[in-house]
Symmetry: C2
Subunit: 208 residues, 2 copies
């Protein structure tokens, strides 16, 4: 299986199915139908079956899916059976929100370093993590490689930071800066654009 074959929208739905399944696990449910997963994931049962079919054969006709087996399989598919080391570049409001959000640690993401170019921020302690100057970035990532780097810098410096991270072997970038990043084919980039989220809503407000 290669990454290329699986659309990002499919991966996103797998994450949503997993959220539902974990809720059902907590409630003690043993099986769930594709209809129920579809309703929770905002899609159709045919789409649920198609999404899962990329990864193997799950569930029994008429019986549905085992909540425990399917959630375990999805955690494996999504790579959530391990912990990830995340470095954050940019100690502004969003960087701060990332560091302090308890949901990340719960899901296996450990924020292990935060960097900023502003000497006034360097040395501040955020949740026990000291903000370091970006000039320490290369040495820090060599000493303690990061699995994922979150870019929370102004747009004009983002690409330079990403180039440094890529040169240091980082293979996954979560980009909050308002620019398109250029990376080699073997590096995954996920762009988070909060203004785009609003535009889904303005479309809805104007098309009903």
């Amino acid at each position: 299986m290669t990454m290329r074959k699986i659309a990002e929208s499919t991966v996103r739905r797998l994450s949503l199915y997993l959220r539902c399944l974990e809720g059902f696990e907590a409630q003690g449910l043993e099986t769930v139908s594709s209809d129920v997963l579809a309703a929770r994931g905002g899609t159709t049962s045919a789409q649920v079956r198609k999404d899962l079919s990329f990864f193997g054969s799950f569930g029994k006709r008429g019986l549905g899916y085992s909540v425990r087996e399917l959630s375990s399989a999805l955690r494996g598919i999504l790579g959530l059976g391990r912990r990830y080391r995340v470095a954050v570049i940019g100690a502004g409001k969003i960087g701060s929100a990332l560091v302090q959000y308890p949901g990340f640690r719960q899901r296996g993401f450990d924020i292990v370093a935060i960097f900023d170019a502003d000497t006034r921020k360097v040395g501040e302690a955020w949740d026990g993590l000291r903000v370091r100057h970006v000039r320490e970035l290369d040495q820090a990532l060599r000493d303690q490689p990061a699995d994922i780097v979150a870019i929370v810098t102004p747009g004009e410096v983002a690409q330079g930071m990403v180039d440094r991270c890529v040169a240091l072997g980082v293979k996954a970038i979560l980009n909050f800066a308002p620019v398109q990043l250029q990376v080699p084919d073997d590096v995954a980039v996920k762009h988070v654009n909060l203004a785009l989220e609003f535009e889904t809503l303005t479309f809805a407000l104007n098309n009903r």
Copy 2:
């Protein structure tokens, strides 16, 4: 045209195409091909043509799209030809990041009110906006209706806040709280889940 026929993933791509077109406008380009738009939007030229075909006939075979005409049409389709009044409920880190992010104002989103239940935060001024107590929410939205409400509260209070907003006539909710919200059919909800963004990357790291 009804909202139901257009998938959220399509709307998202329209936003991305618009971003590209605005970049081309700034560079003085007059026309653009569906290939170029596709490359920038991370999709295929067939998908670009299909996405646009929902909304009318754009471009000329062999000549591509007029950058100015298509960006103007997309702004209209996405409802970006006007300004939107946004209220933020929750004055934590993410609420603060929303209020101070200049990109929203540039795109037509004016944050007009922010609320919190924590009396220590009430009265603080954020970018000239005073944090108000959530008990003032109903009166505030009656006096000055909001087009969009951003929910940036803890999960356990989110639904109650949304119910109050819906009763006051709010038709669009941007939800950052880690819960599924229940709303009537005529209310649009967009759920922003930062942990899901990380999972797109863990999938990529584990499937290449």
